[in-house]
Amino acid sequence: MSEQVQHGEHEHHIVSPKVYVIVFFALLVGTAATVWASYVDLGLWNPIIALAIACTKATLVVLFFMHVKYSTKLTKLTVAAGIFMFLTLVSMTLADYISRAWGNW
């Protein structure tokens, strides 16, 4: 059901509804999993699992709903740049806050 028309660089790839349905169900499963996991006391691991599942769901949305899997290298690079910049902001700022507790050398 997916038509593929390569037109030079531009992607004309029409993602098939079958893919969307599979991803949709995967997202629902992920939601169920993350809610279930949050009910179990896993100490340190709760936030890690929750974030890992969130990242997986986000990746599915980006790759398939937003067509990035079928997009040009430029689009992929753009997404990567955004994620990188976001991580830089968060991690370098947090690094200051966390290292304040370490005292003066």
């Binding site: 030079g8 660089e9 969307y20 709760n46 936030p47 929750a50 986000a58 700022t93």
Partner: protein
């Protein structure tokens, strides 16, 4: 000023159907135009990522500093409504993606149906959000508006939440910081809701235009780019749900 190295070129020279009315004159082809528009939309989404980034940074910092307060405060959030909202938004992303497929395959009534479903689910999300907000208002958990720490100084006074979590009372100097949690809660979900409202508004416009076939005659750019926006808003919620509702359910 033709130069000997220049060759006559350009879509404007073609007189046939390669020059549809929606092709702007500074572009050589509809592919180039659609490409450029899509790329521009992605760049705009990058700015949104950085905009929310500041809020996520603030949340992570203060959660690190005031962990007990943030845990106790997060217990005030109703996981049922949050999960329902997540399912609603994911479903609306699915219908939006289907809408894009309908536009690409020129299925006008399919597109209109998908847009209407997305619209309704967007409204549903906001409705659920308003239920949650109303609860916060009733319990005086809105910063700056008669904020009350009572539920955290004496958790037993809040029987619903106490039944589920059995939190210990917080010391007053830590309980004060629950207000910061709610500031960030309202900021982040409020900013997200604002983006939903804008999206729903644009959806309304799109439903009208889709009815007259604007998006199903080869010019799908608007629908595709709006789809990107809508999925982005969904992704923000996926992270908000995890960070606000789920990660602090246990001490």
């Amino acid at each position: 000023m033709p130069d000997s190295t220049q060759i006559a070129h350009g879509a404007s020279a073609d007189a046939h159907s390669e020059h549809p009315p929606y092709l702007r004159h500074h572009f050589e082809s509809t592919e180039q135009q659609a490409d450029a528009a899509g790329f521009a939309m992605w760049l705009f989404l990058l700015t949104e990522v950085m905009f929310f980034g500041g809020l996520f940074t603030a949340y992570l910092i203060y959660r690190n500093w005031y962990y007990p307060a943030f845990v106790a405060a997060s217990h005030q959030l109703n996981v049922f409504w949050g999960t329902l909202n997540t399912v609603v938004l994911i479903s609306s992303s699915f219908t939006m993606a289907m809408g894009v497929w309908c536009a690409e395959t020129r299925r006008k009534s399919g597109l209109v149906l998908c847009l209407i479903l997305t619209f309704i689910m967007g409204l549903g999300f906001l409705g659920i959000k308003s239920i949650e907000y109303r609860e916060k208002i009733e319990k005086h958990h809105v910063p700056g508006f008669h904020y009350s720490m009572q539920s955290f100084l004496d958790p037993a006074s809040d029987p619903e939440v106490f039944k589920e979590y059995h939190d210990k009372p917080l010391a007053p100097d830590m309980a004060v910081h629950t207000e910061l949690y709610f500031s960030l809660y309202f900021l982040m979900t409020g900013m997200h809701a604002l983006h939903m409202i804008i999206g729903i508004g644009i959806l309304g416009f799109m439903i009208y235009r889709a009815q007259v076939g604007a998006y199903t005659s080869g010019h799908t750019t608007f629908v595709m780019n709006f789809g990107l926006y809508w999925h982005f808003v969904d992704i923000i919620w996926i992270y908000l749900f995890a960070l606000l509702y789920l990660i602090s359910r246990h001490q």
